[in-house]
């Protein structure tokens, strides 16, 4: 067994530098690596490229990094919830590459699994495909999309063990599994860190081989963006 634990978020993000490319898990504010984001804000790193499906909201998630103008470029599929983002993008202050959500997941997974690129039908005939190689298979057109290259992947899981094995909960799983092992270093934060052997190997979603550092996260806010309920 290989132990991957680090004591705290400071040790977990060791090696991060200005100008790096980060992958960050989460869909909206669901399943985001809250502890890692707070530390990146505290370190005040600059000129970052962030690959993440969304950009948080104005005062939470990646919105905090945007607010301090730490991000030069975002690669996302949907940014509608963030007014600061839209303002920085329309003014040209922030470079934004908007790509289809499935393509985002596939480019993460390609990096994880050793594919240099993948063909997808998404975006064919649209501005997303401009300048990219296209090819016909069985009468249908596809766009060649390259695997991401990133320095760090920051992911959040529900439970993990010290060997780096991860289990996710509900729809907080989203992009986190495909980002594990997709960057040079994968940092996992978990709500509950347990001893090896405590998690049933049948229930592991991501094996520890894809994770370099794991730590017990704290003070999770788990903010809800749209609280929708029905009455009894």
């Amino acid at each position: 067994m290989i132990i991957k634990t680090v004591d705290n978020v400071q040790d977990a993000v060791k090696g991060v530098k200005d100008g790096m490319t980060f992958m960050l898990g989460g869909f909206g504010l669901c399943g985001i690596p809250e502890n890692a984001i707070s530390e990146l804000v505290r370190l005040n790193l600059k000129n970052l490229t962030c690959i993440s499906n969304n950009a948080g909201v104005d005062d939470f998630g990646l919105g905090q990094l945007l607010h301090k103008k730490q991000i030069d470029k975002m690669v996302s599929s949907y940014v509608g919830e963030n007014a600061i983002f839209e303002k920085q993008m329309l003014s040209g202050e922030l470079d934004v590459e908007l790509i289809p959500q499935g393509t985002l997941a596939a480019r993460c997974q390609a990096a994880q699994q050793g594919f240099p690129a993948i063909y997808t039908p998404a975006g064919y005939g649209t501005e997303v495909a401009q300048g990219k190689e296209t090819r016909e298979f069985d009468g249908k057109m596809y766009v060649l999309e390259e695997a991401f290259k990133a320095d760090f992947a920051f992911v959040k899981a529900w439970k993990g063990d010290k060997a780096g094995n991860l289990i996710f909960k509900g729809t907080a799983r989203n992009f986190n599994p495909a980002m594990c092992g997709s960057a040079k270093i994968t940092v996992a934060e978990v709500e509950e860190l347990v001893e090896p052997g405590e998690l049933d190997p049948n229930h592991i979603h991501i094996p520890g081989i894809f994770v370099q550092r794991i730590f017990q996260g704290k003070d999770y806010e788990k903010r809800i963006e749209q609280r929708t309920v029905r009455t009894k």
Partner: protein, 218 residues
């Protein structure tokens, strides 16, 4: 003329027994409220759930359980969770039977635009480009005209495209139309709406063959 719930109600009749269905944000989300309860249907939300249920009761919201619109939801018996890569795998792999989404513009050749207004609004395409490029059965829920009264059913889309030649059917506040190789074929009129009114609100080629029936909503 239909309101948003009316459009959702009419689209719900397109949902058949045994279908896996992906609902987009906005009017499409309302469709779930009107699907017959004597058929078996599962709703997929691309952020990672099959078997999506209604909103939770107050106090039972779970931050780890949301739909693609970031709304709190529930999971029905038989539901499953999965990651984004597998979710779009089931979409690209055409395992989802029906996709219902909104649009800013649809062209008579089936092109759709719904993600960007250059210089004004850029929210992103989310999963829409993957859905329209992959699904075989795509129904668009939309208003026939914009607030200024201009048609949104066009000869050619003016906005950046989401997908090409992909829309199969449109349910608007005025009509049900099928997208054919020759243009928009009028299938049904909304209650109280005439063929002439639909013609006047449609910029793209409208095909009217024979008597056009009024929609049956119940």
């Amino acid at each position: 003329m239909l309101d948003k719930n009316g459009i959702a109600k009419r689209i719900a009749k397109e949902v058949k027994d045994g279908y896996y269905v992906n609902l987009g944000i906005g009017i499409p989300t309302l469709v779930a409220n009107f699907v017959r309860d004597d058929i078996q249907v599962e709703f997929q939300s691309e952020n990672g759930i099959l078997g999506m249920g209604p909103f939770p009761f107050e106090g039972e919201e779970d931050a780890d359980l949301i739909n693609a619109g970031k709304q709190t939801i529930t999971a029905l018996p038989g539901a499953s969770f999965f990651d984004s890569a597998l979710s779009f795998g089931m979409i690209r792999g055409q395992h989802v039977d029906l996709t219902i989404l909104g649009a800013m513009e649809v062209a008579e050749n089936g092109d759709i635009a719904n993600w960007k207004i250059p210089g004004k609004m850029v929210k992103g395409m989310g999963g829409a480009m993957d859905l329209v490029a992959s699904a075989e059965n795509i129904i668009v829920a939309m208003m026939h005209t914009n607030k200024a009264g201009d048609s949104k059913l066009l000869k050619r889309c003016s906005l950046p495209l989401t997908g090409v030649g992909c829309v199969t059917k449109i349910v608007s506040n005025l009509a049900v139309l099928e997208v054919t190789k020759d243009g928009f074929k009028l299938l049904e009129r909304a209650p109280g709406v005439s063929v002439e009114e639909i013609q006047a609100a449609t910029e793209g080629k409208l095909i009217v063959e024979g008597e056009i029936p009024e929609m049956q909503l119940n």
